[in-house]
Amino acid sequence: MTRAPDQDLSLKLRFRKLLFLQGYWSPIEVELSFYENLGTVMKRRSLTDLDVLGIKYDNLLIPFSIVGDCKSGKNVSDINRLFWLRGIKDFFGADQAYFIHSTIRSHARGVAPKLGISVMDEEALLTSEKILQVDKSPLPLEDEKFYTSVVNLWGINLVKGQKPDEKQLELKNVYSYLSYSYWYIEQHRNLFNLIEHFTKIATLFDENDKRYVLLAYTGLERFIHSLLEISVFVTSQGGTNILRDTRSYIYGGPLSLKEKESFFKLLRNLTHSNEQLDPPYLQDIIELLVRMIKNPMGSSDILRHISAIYAWCVYLGNDTLLPLCESGENTAAIVLARDAAQTFARLTGIKETIYSKILNL
């Protein structure tokens, strides 16, 4: 979202739509960074970027992820890209990787299976689009105009040489967190970080400003993604002790939880305060998690619903949402999307009217 459109954009958007129609939530141009400790500050170093990321949860809350590299130019070494993509696949722990290039050379086709990568040329892409009836889906996910307008709404967009004011600096931190840090830091840390970041800028949100609406929807998507990752862990532990397993996850495992609890005990003894490890809003989060875990048919598809609501209702101005699957409307997903939007707004202090399109469904 932070970069200008490029010559590969069309392929990326087409692949994103294919993933979406197969049940994936798919952020594109995900930037991978590394944070270097320079003593007093942490310096971000950009490593590479991933063209398309697809994340899906099945009805048992088992996660699946796909990484996709899209190239349209002629001067591309398919072999180099395949080896690079294999590294990206491992870095993300993705289940599947796709290399999409207008034409794929035969030696690349031979190597790809050994690297666990699927390749897709223009013909294969067209076939897949036909099978999934991409043309019948009215969502503008492959529309470059939609993409460009979203990109233009992202960031604080300063003119060269202009210094950001205090408000812009605060916003910049949040944009930076969402664009880079969110994908870099350990996933279990993201929930609290996200809430803290949005709480700091909550008063700035203006429902009539498209920039803030986009930022609010992106924050909500990441909030739900973080909750789904917790749900995956809790479910993998049997799903019977949601409170214990959620705490274990968000504090980085049982040992780390024990350390943190000991630290807070010490802090209370030393300061005679009543500071608790769990933030007061954890109870609200647990209640929402319970509803998500108990209704996996709905929770597994909330992320796609948020993307669709933004494209179809916010961007195109529609008041109702078209069903995302052939079996009809997924009411549970809509109910949980509304629930998550209201919870996120309440936890961060953002006015929930910024999610009016979700709340009106």
């Binding site: 019977t240 002790n241 949601i242 409170l243 109870q283 647990i286 209640e287 319970v290 509803r291 108990k294 209704n295 709905g298 009411t331 549970a332 109910v335 949980l336 509304r338 629930d339 209201q342 469904l361």
Partner: protein
């Protein structure tokens, strides 16, 4: 007054008065308590659902809980106020009721806080406090009524309304009129009152202790040195659950709970047996004691059996077999598991046991299985069957209450605006 207690007692008022006929003083002076009571009972039945699309289905279920279709929007409004539900509307049409009743906490605190926000009338506050006090034991009638601080008309209204719902009863013991709540009496009230008269200083302490720790082992030091406990067991005021487990026979005592129908009492009996078994494992296990009793009960409710077998399970849970709650399973090598029979009644008993463990009360004993089925059934209601016919009970009013009704009606006729 503690908000949780306030929420629980408001529910008692609704449960007890729902089958009484329309009666001015009840409907005028208790409207806020009854409103929150209705909200509490509906929330309890909605818990665990994600949404309801069919509003008619909800109306049918609510009707069987004593909430008429005219009252339902107001009750839903209260639940929306405490964020237990969210209503998706198209204009004035309700498209969907989305349920967010908390599952990790009882929710009575929010309801009690809401009742406080509604500024209940003096009579309501006094009645709720009196009921809460009577849960700890009976009191001398005159002394209690004097301490409440209501004028004589208000007192009459309070007593008439509460007596009609069997929230309050009076009985003379050794020439002394004693007031008590049948909701805190398991069996014969006369025996209960005689016992309370004999041990006036111990009754409140014992009741409080049992409320805070339902299923207290009789061998616990806090129980053994009280003469009142032995007398209560001998006379049937307290009816301990006896478990013959791996380390011998142990008994567990529960706070008395009255005001239940025969079917509801069966549920409570099962819940006490279940909690007794878990308390045994907590306190008298031959191996590693149960550390988290709540998790054990949730596991039995959600998964119907224990994670793994244990040699003690056969004897420890034998009582539950006798009560048709479940059956033992031989898992080999001298190990046993226990499987709960998945019936509505057993699931309800497990929920009641969980509530007793958590906050000492057992409001789920009142869960109407028919109403809950109507809500859970995705194809909607089956017709008017869930709204079981109940005969409404007339409220007997005292001369003072009747005089107040006439006084208020007179004001109305003279064009005086009635103050809330």
């Amino acid at each position: 007054m503690d908000s949780v207690i306030l929420g629980l007692r408001a529910q008692d008022f609704h449960e007890s008065l729902k089958n009484t006929s329309a009666f001015g003083p009840k409907d005028v002076h208790y409207k806020k308590t009854l409103l929150i009571g209705k909200a509490a009972v509906l929330a309890m039945h909605l818990r665990g659902l994600l949404y309801i699309k069919d509003y008619t289905q909800l109306e049918y279920a609510a009707a069987s809980l004593g909430i008429s279709s005219l009252e339902l929007p107001i009750v839903l409004g209260e639940l929306e106020e405490v964020a237990f539900i969210s209503i998706a509307r198209s204009g004035s049409v309700i498209r969907r009721v989305e349920i967010r009743v908390p599952e990790f906490r009882s929710g009575y605190k929010e309801l009690g806080d809401r009742l406080k926000d509604l500024n209940p009338s003096e009579i309501e506050i006094a009645s709720l406090m009196a009921l809460a006090k009577l849960y700890s034991g009976p009191a001398e009638k005159d002394k209690l009524l004097r301490s409440i601080g209501l004028d004589s008309t208000q007192l009459s209204i309070m007593v008439d309304v509460m007596e009609s719902g069997l929230l309050l009863a009076t009985q003379v013991v050794e020439g002394q009129p004693l007031i008590y709540t049948p909701l805190a009496v398991d069996g014969n009230p006369s025996i209960y009152l005689e016992w309370a008269q004999k041990f006036p200083s111990e009754v409140a302490v014992i009741m409080q202790l049992l409320k805070e720790h339902q299923g207290m082992p009789l061998s616990d030091p806090s129980m053994t040195n009280r003469s009142a406990i032995g007398a209560a067991i001998d006379t049937g005021v307290l009816m301990p659950v006896e478990i013959n487990g791996a380390t011998g026979v142990q008994s567990f005592v529960f706070a008395p709970h009255g005001g239940l129908s025969q079917e509801e009492y069966i549920i409570l009996d099962k819940a006490r047996a279940i909690l007794g078994c878990v308390r045994y494992g907590q306190n008298f296990s031959s191996g590693r004691p149960i550390k988290y009793p709540k998790l054990i009960l949730e596991r039995l409710r959600d998964r119907k059996r224990f994670k793994k077998g244990h040699p003690d399970l056969m004897s420890q849970y034998g009582l539950l077999v006798e009560k048709f709650i479940g059956h033992p399973i031989d898992v080999g090598n001298g190990m046993w598991n226990f499987e709960v029979d998945d019936t509505d009644e057993n699931m309800k008993a497990l929920n009641v046991a969980l509530e007793m463990l958590e906050h000492g009360d057992a409001p789920s004993a009142k869960i109407d299985i028919e109403a809950q089925k109507a809500l859970l059934n995705p194809s909607g209601y089956q017709g008017p069957l869930p709204t079981r016919m109940k005969l409404s009970k007339g409220i007997k009013s005292s001369p003072k209450t009747r005089a107040e009704i006439i006084n208020q009606m007179g004001k109305l006729m003279r064009g005086v605006v009635l103050d809330d």
